[in-house]
């Protein structure tokens, strides 16, 4: 897919683990893992909102379009 999820990059920048993010965002580890590994087919605005709040970033920092 042309959309890349840069969740792992942002997590590394904020020095936060998947477990900590899971607790902050309220998502299961399995779902976060799907998002992190790029297997996700869609993302809800509410999920994006909570991840942006937890990582203090913009949606554009998490999502990238490549040609």
């Amino acid at each position: 897919m042309a959309i890349i999820v840069n969740l792992d990059v942002m997590m590394a920048k904020r020095k936060i683990t998947l477990n900590e993010l899971s607790e902050k965002v309220g998502l299961t580890l399995a779902n976060l893992s799907i998002l992190k590994t790029g297997k996700a087919k869609a993302i809800r605005f509410s999920t994006l909102d909570s991840i942006c709040k937890a990582l203090d970033c913009q949606p554009a920092d998490l999502l990238e379009h490549v040609k």
């Binding site: 998502l27 779902n31 799907i34 297997k39 996700a40 087919k41 869609a42 993302i43 809800r44 999920t47």
Partner: protein, 182 residues
């Protein structure tokens, strides 16, 4: 006795097993009978499986006889494979009503639809072939005894199943999308 979901499935499983064994015996019977007639004793053509008298066809032309019994065997074989698919789905325990839209059931539905269509096409071909042979003046058993009737029903059922399989395929795609929506 209370008829619940499990009981219904067990009953269907038992019926499928009985039909599968019956059809497997019939297919084996046709095949063995054909082999014996062709290679050992040509008199068996008059006592074919299911009390069919195919001696008229055998004496008329051996090639046509082989074509005819091939169609008979193919129809019987397809029906056996159809029931094998039904049994396998019961035994593999892939029929999960909690999460019915999965790849295994999708493949099963497509295979099932194609086999039913094949039965319909072979039955139709057999019917047309038998009628043509009768027009040539060859004495053949009635079409009902040859399992050549009901080709239109098989084809209709096959097309309907194919449509259901297509809809199911879309369902599987939607389920996958839903599962991977975070």
């Amino acid at each position: 006795m209370e008829i619940n979901g499990d009981f219904k499935f067990k009953l269907l499983n038992v019926i499928s097993w009985i039909l599968f064994i019956g059809l497997a015996i019939e297919t084996g019977g046709y095949f063995t009978n054909a082999l014996v007639t062709l290679f050992f004793n040509s008199e068996w053509a008059s006592h074919f499986w299911g009390n069919l008298d195919l001696s008229g066809l055998y004496t008329f032309d051996l090639g046509l006889f082989i074509c005819f019994i091939t169609i008979l065997i193919l129809i019987s074989l397809c029906k056996t494979i159809m029931f094998y698919h039904i049994i396998s789905i019961f035994h593999k325990k892939k029929f999960d009503l909690e999460n019915p839209f999965n790849e295994t059931i999708k493949i099963y539905l497509f295979n099932f639809a194609y086999i039913v269509l094949e039965i319909g096409l072979f039955t139709y071909a057999g019917k047309v072939f038998a009628k043509w042979l009768m027009d040539q003046g060859i004495k053949l058993p009635p079409l009902e005894n040859l399992n050549f009737d009901g080709s239109d029903v098989w084809i209709f059922m096959g097309i309907t199943l194919l449509l259901f399989a297509k809809i199911f395929k879309k369902g599987v795609e939607l389920q996958n999308e839903n599962d991977f929506t975070v």
